[in-house]
């Protein structure tokens, strides 16, 4: 490189430097100009004058100076130049008095938007879709998660709906999308639709999709749904709820009456003191119980408000099933329909709740089969049936009883042929054991059976011939041991005393028979203790009260039912009522707490009566009274016996002349 070239380059560079410096100086002057002219011309000039660029004279001089100072200076060092130049400028400026020029300077306003900070929080990655309960079950989630998965369907109907409601919201979107994206109108509206849909989804997720998908089902689809088992399950549950609340609502509406002031369960009317029983309600179902006789009643130990009743066959209509068993609910006062309806092929002669299984109902039928129903299933037909074979019963099963404890329980059944079978409820294909009931080689046609109290071994049987027998299932003398003779007709009712009190009366039992009488027995004696003969027709059932030691109930075929209280009067019933109409009572039962009596008649009706308190709350001396009454009975029988066999007048008793009919029975009448 020659020197000349270098000089030329240097000059070029200098020129460039000069340009840059000029620019810098100009900027510097713009900055420093307000400071420097301020000082000399403060008084004369206004402060808010715009700064003016300096004359060209000064820069040249400055440049020369600068050029002298730094002959070979690279542009990189220009920043260091400018401060130096300004200081030199400042030294020189004050003396000069330059003419200031005012000119407008437009400044370009640049607004820089705040930097958008795009963050991704690790908590929520999905689109918000309404309240989501973290502990909600999957089923619940199904309802709420529809939005995320939901794809907008092609139907324009709901889109239109969405469009209208979200119009304002999507307007802004529209404005931005159209011009910025430069799309065609059609696609913009498409975009708007999908966006608005998503928007809708986000906000209205809780509304569920039903508002958006309203599919009309065709009739076929409806039929299909109706037939599905799922629907049937649902409907059996739901209809129960609905029916109960439908029946309850009239009374419940009374809360809006504020002038009445009476309490809500208006049925708390107390019975009059003199009133012994009060009619509560009756159970009757047009379809299932008309023209049928009530054959057996039972109440549940688990749910005392449930009443089980079995009915005979309906001769009038042949297409209805022969066997009907209904469970009624006494809790819902107004609901007239049964809780459960069970059917089977042959009519049911006896039925019982399983004491140890809350959902099992057992029935013995006319054909000898024992059937098991389960309330948990939706079916009306039995879940289990015993086989019709010689090992089980082939005659009507007249009595069923569940004995034992929770862990070891058996079902005992007796049938008319004189067979007693014991079953395991879980396995009903064949009996665990069966026993032929025979007394002195004569088979016993059993009509009634009772296991006294919590006995599992000893039992009492009532037969068609009129005798009662006692026996035991196991042991040395398994089978029938003693017979109790007294009745002339088949025994229809048998009831063991079962009240726990100061005196144990558990050896007492009552029998009722077609011979118009009711007899009181003790297990220890094979002659009746007393006979009650106030009925003038077949007595169909007798029951001790479960709470009062001296109270029992009888019913007969004329529609008459009597409540007896032996402590009050041992010869006449406390209360005797005959039902209107031509009804015959077939069965009677006390409720478990002894506060209600249930009567079943031959027209399919169940009548419930409330019983006065004094019959349900025994006093302490009732037990003692009963023992003295029993002693009286004994005395009476002895007296009668003596009367028959001797002419001597026996020691006086309170009774009026006794009349003895036959030697086997002794009856005392109060004239």
């Amino acid at each position: 490189m020659s020197n000349e070239q270098r000089k030329a380059e240097l000059e070029v560079k200098r020129a460039k430097l000069e340009e840059i410096r000029q620019k810098k100086l100009q900027q510097e002057k713009l900055r420093t100009a307000p400071t420097t002219p301020m000082t000399p011309n403060l008084s004369s000039m206004p402060i808010n004058l715009l700064t003016t660029p300096r004359e060209d004279a000064d820069p040249d001089r400055i440049l020369q100076e600068v050029g002298i100072r730094q002959p070979v200076s690279l542009p990189a060092s220009s920043p260091s130049i400018s401060p130096g130049s300004t200081t030199s400028q400042q030294k020189r400026r004050p003396p000069t008095n330059m003419a200031l020029q005012i000119c407008q300077q437009t400044t370009a306003t640049i607004s820089v938007p705040p930097k958008e900070l795009v963050t991704y929080s690790k908590e929520v990655q999905t689109i918000e879709s309404g309240d989501k309960d973290p502990a909600a079950s999957p089923i619940q989630h199904d309802h709420l998660q529809w939005d995320d998965e939901f794809q907008p369907s092609a139907s324009g109907e709901h889109n239109r709906l969405v469009y209208v409601t979200d119009d304002e919201d999507t307007m802004s979107l529209d404005d931005n999308t159209k011009p910025s994206m430069g799309m065609s109108l059609a696609s913009a509206t498409e975009l708007k639709r999908t966006r608005s849909l998503k928007h809708q989804n986000k906000q209205l997720s809780l509304q569920g999709q039903s508002s958006m998908i309203k599919q009309e089902l065709t009739n076929d689809e409806r039929e299909h749904i109706l037939k599905s088992e799922q629907f049937q399950d649902f409907f059996s549950r739901s209809s129960r709820l609905i029916e109960r609340s439908l029946w309850e609502s009239p009374r419940a509406f009374d809360i809006f009456k504020d002038y009445s002031g009476r309490d809500l369960d208006g049925q708390n009317e107390k019975m009059d003191v003199g009133e012994i029983i009060k009619f509560d309600r009756e159970f009757f179902d047009e379809r299932w119980t008309r023209h049928r006789i009530v054959t057996c009643i039972d109440t549940s130990t688990y749910h005392p408000e449930l009443v089980l009743a079995s009915y005979s066959q309906n001769d009038e209509s042949t297409h209805e099933s022969d066997g009907v068993v209904l469970i009624w609910n006494t809790k819902y006062k107004s609901k007239p329909t049964p809780e459960y309806v069970f059917n089977c092929q042959s009519w049911v002669t006896s039925c019982v709740f399983s004491k140890f299984h809350p959902n099992i109902v057992l029935g013995g039928t006319y054909s000898g089969q024992i059937v098991v129903w389960d309330t948990r299933t939706n079916k009306r037909t039995p879940v289990q049936r015993t086989a019709l074979s010689a090992s089980s019963h082939t005659h009507p099963v007249y009595c069923l009883q569940v004995i034992g404890t929770q862990n070891a329980n058996n079902l005992i059944s007796i049938s008319n042929e004189g067979k007693m079978c014991s079953w395991n409820i879980e396995m009903m294909t064949q009996p665990q054991e069966s026993m032929d009931l025979a007394y002195r080689t004569k088979p016993v046609a059993a009509t009634r059976m009772v296991f006294p109290g919590v006995e599992v071994n000893n039992f009492i049987i009532g037969s068609e011939e009129g005798q009662a027998y006692s026996g035991s299932r196991h042991g040395n003398k398994a089978g029938i041991q003693d017979s109790y003779e007294g009745h002339f007709g088949p025994i229809t009712g048998l009831s063991c005393h079962n009240v726990n009190g100061s005196v144990d009366f558990s050896s007492l039992f009552l029998t009722s028979s077609f011979d118009w009488s009711v007899k009181l027995w003790s297990l220890k004696e094979n002659k009746p203790l007393n006979s009650f003969e106030v009925n003038s027709d077949y007595v169909t059932d007798v029951r001790w009260s479960p709470v009062h030691p001296s109270v029992f109930l009888t019913c007969d075929i004329t529609g008459r039912f009597d409540i007896w209280n032996l402590n009050h009067d041992s010869e006449l019933p406390l209360l005797s009522t005959t039902l209107d109409g031509n009804v015959a009572l077939n069965k009677c039962l006390w409720s478990h707490n002894g506060q209600q009596i249930i009567l079943g008649d031959d027209q399919g009706k169940l009548r419930l009566y409330d019983v006065n308190e004094f019959l349900t709350n025994p006093k302490q001396d009732d037990f003692n009274k009963l023992s003295s009454t029993l002693q009286e009975f004994k005395r009476n029988t002895l007296d009668a016996f003596d009367d028959n066999h001797s002419t001597n007048v026996p020691t006086t008793t309170t009774n009026v002349p006794t009349t003895s009919t036959t030697s086997s029975t002794s009856v005392s009448h109060n004239s």
Binding site: Q207, L241, E243, S245, R380
Partner: protein, 106 residues
């Protein structure tokens, strides 16, 4: 065998539905499925459609409210008493029953 069982069950369903419909004071009876379509209704179509949508919303809201308060809890029955009538709603897993009953005037 199973078809006869099904048909008798269906007959029972029909009978129960009829019993509910003819109950004193019952104006309307609707059974709907969860997707918003009704299976059975005794009121006119337009009312049914609006009723199903609205009741569905309300029932879901009530259900979520109950659930939010206590996750172990669940809605079993809903009863809306209005000036003119009473609306009974029995929600279930897949379906929902609605009954409109007039208020008893004593």
């Amino acid at each position: 065998m199973s078809s006869t069982v099904v048909s008798t069950q269906q007959a029972e369903i029909e009978e129960t539905m009829k019993r509910i419909q003819t109950h004193k004071g019952v104006h309307g009876f609707v059974v709907m499925s969860n997707d918003g379509s009704f299976v059975r209704s005794t009121i006119d179509n337009s009312t049914t459609m609006s009723l199903t949508g609205l009741i569905r919303t309300l029932s879901d809201k009530a259900k979520s409210c109950v659930r939010d308060l206590d996750p172990q809890n669940d809605l079993t029955f809903l009863r809306i008493r209005t000036k003119k009538q009473e609306i009974l709603v029995a929600p279930d897993k897949d379906y929902l029953t609605i009954v409109l009953q007039a208020n008893e005037q004593h």
